[in-house]
């Protein structure tokens, strides 16, 4: 599933490791989600949306 994680992370100057630390997941997990190779569970997706203060559909593209 496509997402805007890379862009949102860059806006805040966070590395993948920084984002992983905030979500309590590994950098590898962030990379896998960011590149669209691994779809996160609903709890992680909601935590991501909350972290960026955006609705979930503004972070993930459900059309893909």
């Amino acid at each position: 599933m496509k997402n805007r994680l890379r862009e949102l992370r860059a806006e805040r100057g966070w590395s993948q490791a920084d984002l992983g630390e905030r979500l309590e997941i590994s950098r590898q997990s962030v990379n896998a989600i960011e590149t669209g190779k691994f779809d996160p569970s609903l709890p992680i997706a909601f935590r991501l949306a909350k972290l960026f203060s955006l609705p979930i559909e503004k972070v993930f593209d459900p059309e893909d």
């Binding site: 997941i25 590994s26 590898q28 997990s29 990379n31 896998a32 590149t35 190779k37 691994f38 992680i44």
Partner: protein, 138 residues
């Protein structure tokens, strides 16, 4: 986590898994030595011989329980998903190899392979499968 038993400690669940698994493998090696020594002294029948010969198998069961505990305790869903996929590959391929080898032993002059190598084979395949599965997500 790339190698079963010796994993890169990136979180608390993996650290606990490493500690438990390595301890169990040391006990496993100890039970093999005890069973071998017991057999070498001619104790090959009776309840005590069977009980001692079963001990290495009991530690293998403990190792499998420890793998299950790791999967329950792992909070990182990506790690858990890749480990489960690698474990499925290891389980399936180990069974396929052992079954195929069994037929080879029955129908050809292929040498006998000891069944106790099954767990080592499973761990080896798990390690390789884990590296391959994780590479897909890079």
């Amino acid at each position: 986590m790339e190698i079963p038993g010796v994993c890169i400690p990136t979180n608390a669940a993996i650290k606990r898994y490493n500690r438990r698994f390595l301890t169990t493998m040391m006990v496993y090696a100890g039970t093999i030595l005890v069973a071998a020594e017991w057999a070498r002294h001619g104790h090959r029948s009776g309840a005590s011989a069977y009980a001692i010969a079963t001990l290495p198998g009991v530690t293998v069961i403990a190792a499998l329980v420890i793998i299950g505990m790791y999967l329950r305790e792992e909070k990182d869903e990506f790690n858990r998903a890749t480990q489960v996929e690698a474990l499925l590959w290891a389980t399936g391929l180990t069974q396929a190899i052992e079954t195929t080898w069994g037929f080879l032993e029955n129908f050809t002059d292929a040498p006998h392979a000891p069944l106790y190598l099954g767990f080592a084979l499973f761990c080896g395949i798990w390690g390789v499968a884990n590296a391959i599965v994780r590479r897909r997500y890079q």
